[in-house]
């Protein structure tokens, strides 16, 4: 398989002023693959996703999506192809827009017809009741807000999804629905994902491979099978796996 990876990251560094937050990381994700990113709080996971999405200007290295090198500016086609679900769903939803408006906006920006049917389907896909459609974010529960964020990311049919803790605000039954939905979309549309989660069971469920970060660096990349079997080389990974198994009891 000499196929071009969908996402290629080479020697990426990110600075915020004088702090060096992401240090020389490299990885690639094949089309249709889901790649996991785990590691301790503050290790740089969200920063990696935000930088790929074009939200952090201060980076060096090479990044490419679908074979195209990413520059400092992203065009409209990029924003249709690549969608991100943010860790903090409240902050990412406009407080004065109803759910209907939030979902209609990407359709208008990208000139996609059929808004009515698409919005109804998107709500259904993330198991939101129709009554939620004309509410404002503050009138929804935490898990309902996160589902709006996921619906918004999916509504314009992206080919790459960057998911930052997409299910940590969801209850286990909605989490199961969202994880099943992501598996289905991956099969139906060859969706490529990078998934950040602190929940190793969620990572193992969706990802073929994952990278473990610590202090801005990738300390190891391992497969789902190695993760489940506890065959990790780095001590940080070993600790995380041991704690997960302990919690599963």
């Amino acid at each position: 398989m000499s196929q071009l990876p969908m996402i290629a990251i080479e020697h990426l560094d990110v600075h915020f002023g004088s702090s060096h937050v992401v240090r020389d990381i490299s990885f690639s994700v094949a089309a249709g693959e889901t790649f996991g990113l785990v590691g301790e709080s503050g290790s740089g996971k969200s920063t990696v996703l935000r930088t790929i999405a074009g939200l952090n200007p201060g980076w060096d290295g090479r990044m490419a999506v679908a074979g195209q090198n990413l520059g400092p500016r992203r065009d409209r086609a990029f924003f249709r192809r690549v969608q991100m679900v943010f860790q903090d769903p409240y902050g990412s939803l406009h407080p004065r827009q109803t759910v209907d408006r939030i979902l209609a906006e990407p359709l208008e920006v990208h000139g996609i017809a059929d808004a009515e049917a698409r919005i109804a389907r998107a709500l259904e896909e993330v198991a939101l009741p129709h009554t939620a459609r004309f509410r404002y974010p503050h009138q929804l529960s935490g898990g309902q807000r996160q589902r709006v964020a996921i619906a918004r990311a999916l509504i314009a049919d992206p080919s790459v999804l960057l998911l930052d803790e997409p299910t940590s605000a969801l209850d286990v039954s909605v989490q199961a629905e969202v994880l099943n939905l992501l598996s289905d979309l991956r099969e139906a549309r060859q969706l490529t994902c990078i998934l950040v989660s602190h929940n190793l069971a969620v990572i193992a469920h969706l990802c073929e491979r994952l990278a473990v970060m610590q202090g801005g660096r990738i300390v190891e990349i391992l497969s789902e099978a190695e993760l489940r079997a506890g065959r990790a080389k780095h001590s940080h990974t070993q600790d995380l796996i041991a704690l997960s198994y302990e919690l599963e009891g």
Binding site: F16, V38, G39, E40, S41, G42, S46, Q87, D88, P89, Y90, G91, T131, Q139, S141, G142, G143, Q144, R147, D164, E165, S168, A169, L170, D171, V172, S173, V174, Q175, A176, E177, L179, N180, S183, H198, N199, L200, A201, V202, A204, H205, L227, R228, D239, L240, I241, L243, S244, Y245, L247, E248, G249
Partner: protein, 290 residues
């Protein structure tokens, strides 16, 4: 200051919360009852079941438009629905701490993290005998950040909320709520964005406060295994009702089909499953529970 309350820190009887909608009212909480002492009570249940609304009702933090009724809604003997606004202000952020589900939303975006924690500390310590000063407040803030295992507390003190990571924001919020030494901590998904090792350390810290200071903890969480390990008792909510209440250590043996359904749909690290089962909701669950 405690009233006559049979040792109950919180007493909730037949609490109902309705929100107006264009055609009438939506019932978010439909007659729930439970009480708790200085213990660790877990509240679990699916999204939208009314967990956060219950916590906010106890602090009288719901929007004006919400209709809140109860036979009893008491904190340490104080009638929350009848209390003056002034009384409520001394409870909030003083005797009752609330760690909210959206940490970034609950932090002030234009004030440094250090100043927010210091002010929370000062609000409590000024009124006390100590009469804390600015310098002391800063030291206290630094200690609290260390306690919640922030790696570089000095830098974080001077950071604004958007400059810290998701998990750091969650811990800042926890530090802020612990600053005034509350009697009751309502923690709404406090560790949902934290990795297992930090989560374990934070829960240990809360545990120490519960046993050393006799603080009560209401832990709202989706994480059933976590609640089972950490809490004394669990209240399971569905559609604004309490479905069952049981000792936390028995949670994995719960009998109710709803609770069983929640336990079964979690992915597992040890067992691989192609598809996860989802919850099949039974109409009978919506009927009134005693």
């Amino acid at each position: 200051m405690s009233g006559m309350n049979n040792g109950n820190l919180v007493e909730i009887r037949d609490l109902r919360v309705d929100f107006p909608n264009p055609s009438g009212f939506t019932q978010a909480v439909r007659g729930i009852s439970f009480s708790m002492g200085r213990e660790k009570l877990g509240i679990v249940g699916e999204s939208g079941s009314g967990k956060s609304v219950t916590g906010r009702a106890l602090m009288r933090l719901l929007p004006q438009a919400a209709r809140v009724r109860a036979e009893a809604l008491r904190f340490d003997g104080i009638d929350v629905l009848g209390a003056s606004e002034r009384q409520m202000r001394t409870l909030r952020g003083g005797r009752i701490g609330l760690i909210m589900q959206d940490p970034k939303y609950s932090l002030n975006p234009v004030m440094t993290v250090g100043r927010q924690i210091s002010e929370a500390w000062l609000a409590h310590n000024r009124s006390g005998s100590g009469g804390g000063g600015k310098r002391e407040a800063r030291d206290a803030a630094l200690t609290l950040l260390e306690q919640v295992r922030i790696r570089d507390p000095k830098r974080v003190l001077g950071s604004y909320p958007h400059e810290v990571s998701g998990g750091m924001g969650q811990r800042v919020m926890i530090a802020m709520m612990l600053a005034p030494n509350p009697d009751l901590l309502i923690a709404d998904e406090p560790t949902s964005a934290l990795d297992a090792s930090v989560q374990a350390e934070i829960l240990k810290l809360i545990e120490d406060l519960v046993s050393a200071r006799g603080m009560g903890l209401m832990l709202i969480s989706h994480d059933l295994p976590l609640v089972a390990r950490f809490c004394d008792r669990v209240v399971v909510m569905y559609a604004g009702q309490v479905m069952e209440e049981l000792p936390a250590r028995d949670l994995h043996r719960a009998q109710h089909a709803y609770t069983r359904g929640l336990l079964d749909c979690m992915p597992s690290l040890s067992k691989k499953r192609a598809r996860l089962p989802t919850l099949t909701r039974d109409a009978a669950w919506l009927e009134r529970h005693a």
